[in-house]
Symmetry: C2
């Protein structure tokens, strides 16, 4: 059975059945013209929207339905994490090809609801329509943050140290691995899982915001190279990244070595990692303790903000540092 | 030039340039990972998302770019109006075919910003991506309402009177007119404009909420037949609509008479009108005065809520009322 055999309201019923009971702050949930929400006292609202499109952000031939739903919400939670916000609700807008099997529809919703439950996000509403084109999942998320606790991209200053969460390159390796049909390079199951089920750094982002440990923060959806340039431009600074300190994922390193690519370059350029890139004043380094202890992810110092307005990669060979331009980033649109 | 020649950031820059200055409650606007918003004191947040898809909700062959942008926001503001909410902000998520001309992109954004400005809505963020399929515009809106002022669909009770705003059938006639290429039936410019540039009943919705004039309210995006059934089902009531009282748009009546269709049936079934359907306790009829005077649209009593659990159309011929089932509605999904 495909979704074309069901009316919009039947599809919405299927979604509702997969949701946990509504929290008390959700005054009106799914089923009316709009959701009505009790705001959280003395906090700011944080809102973001992100779409994933079949053929652009995922390939249905090798992405299980649950991973599609997972990704649609995870990429949005990553944006909230990058602002230091505590997520609260999601609105789910789906444009479905009529040929989509109902089982895939259910799988997508289940994958999304699993991430929502893990991060205490409630699906409060949405929209379902058909399309003659690829599957499009558009998710809006809303969260809250303390009045002076939100983390932007433009407050990094020369002298701040640059950090990244987790390890880099695994998602890019996982995607290559899924695309490689010849099996020559073997498989890299850990990387595939990292690509299919990115784990948004919600807890780490909230902790970086809570004691104002970070001066600026953004997520790595389009890779470190792209993020470092955007953060530098927004803050009007330069950045030096120490090649030796970039936490290349071990599984990714092994994969890229097998395929003959340079692991460091691939880890810097590769997208879909959904780690956090942030800056910390050296004298506030101690404030990272909470995020380190309870953030659920490693935090690695990878460089320094400068007043030079350039973004460079510093390699140290034979004790002498040599700077080169950071490899170019990965851009979705073109 | 098409959008494929521009990077995502260039497209976002084009959008930003068309926006008015940000209001003071927008703490962080376009350009960061998410928007940060100062909530309004002692009010509830109202959130809705709606997508319009090329080929499903609009046809680019006869819909000017400005009308596409207009529609994308207007259909969402209509949802806020139906909740009685005052709109505040919009998030704009676009999936663009690479062949879309930049002039059309600009026209779409201009059409959307024009509606936003008229209704004091600020575009606070969004997302731009490409798609191999049809153009998809996904808009999220947020507004606010007094704590006990929101209007749902489920509070209508037997004995309440049923009202509709404006006139019906014009959008359906306008769409037929745009589709008719042979010109046999002539044109109906007023109906075409009503189809292309629906006017969401934001002011009327806010006034219906303000003094609790309405017991239930929803908008007519999919036509009166569909809305009446949904409102009846949500409230657990029946509805009798008086055929003689349905405000068929005069231009639509003339159009459907020319094409040989029954104007009343078409006005009841036709979608895209974006009027409000609402219920009022007879003893609170006087509360409609403010919405009548300042809502910018006529309000017409068209029927009554009953305890019968049926939705019927009552025609009175030779002084004797005869009930028939309401014509079937218009559904997007199938």
């Amino acid at each position: 059975m495909t979704v074309s055999e069901l009316a919009e309201r039947d599809l919405i019923t299927r979604i509702r059945q997969l949701l946990p009971p509504a929290p008390s702050w959700l005054v009106v949930g799914i089923g009316d013209d709009a959701a009505v929400v009790q705001p959280e006292r003395s906090r700011l609202d944080v809102l973001s929207v992100d779409a994933i499109v079949e053929g652009v952000h995922f390939d249905r031939r090798f992405t299980p339905p649950a991973a599609i739903g997972h990704r649609a919400l995870a990429v949005n939670l990553s944006d909230l994490a990058a602002m230091g916000a505590a997520p609260r609700l999601a609105l789910l807008s789906l444009a479905l090809p009529p040929t989509l099997p109902c089982d895939d529809f259910d799988g997508i919703v289940q994958g999304l609801v699993a991430v929502a439950t893990r991060h205490r996000v409630h699906v409060a509403g949405g929209n379902v329509t058909r399309t003659s084109g690829p599957l499009v999942l558009d998710v809006t998320v809303s969260g809250t943050v303390k009045r002076r606790g939100y983390l932007t991209r433009h407050q990094a200053r020369a002298g701040d140290e640059l950090y990244v969460s987790g390890t880099l390159g695994a998602a890019a390796a996982g995607l290559e691995c899924l695309r490689a049909s010849d099996g020559v390079a073997g498989t890299s199951e850990g990387c595939v899982q990292r690509y299919l089920y990115p784990d948004p750094r919600v807890r780490a982002g909230m902790l970086l915001s809570r004691n104002r440990a970070a001066t600026a923060c953004m997520d790595l959806s389009d890779g470190l190279a792209d993020a470092a340039r955007q953060l530098a431009e927004a803050s009007g600074i330069g950045i030096v990244i120490d090649a030796a300190d970039v936490p290349v994922d071990p599984g990714a390193r092994a994969w890229f070595e097998r395929t003959g690519a340079d692991p460091l370059t691939e880890a810097i350029r590769g997208g879909d990692d959904y780690e956090l890139l942030f800056t910390v004043k050296p004298r506030h380094r101690g404030r990272l303790a909470a995020a380190r202890q309870h953030g659920g992810v490693t935090l690695t110092r990878i460089g320094l903000c400068t007043s030079e307005r350039e973004v460079v990669l510093r390699r140290t060979a034979a004790g002498a540092p040599a700077d080169e331009p950071l490899p170019s980033g990965f851009r979705h649109f073109r």
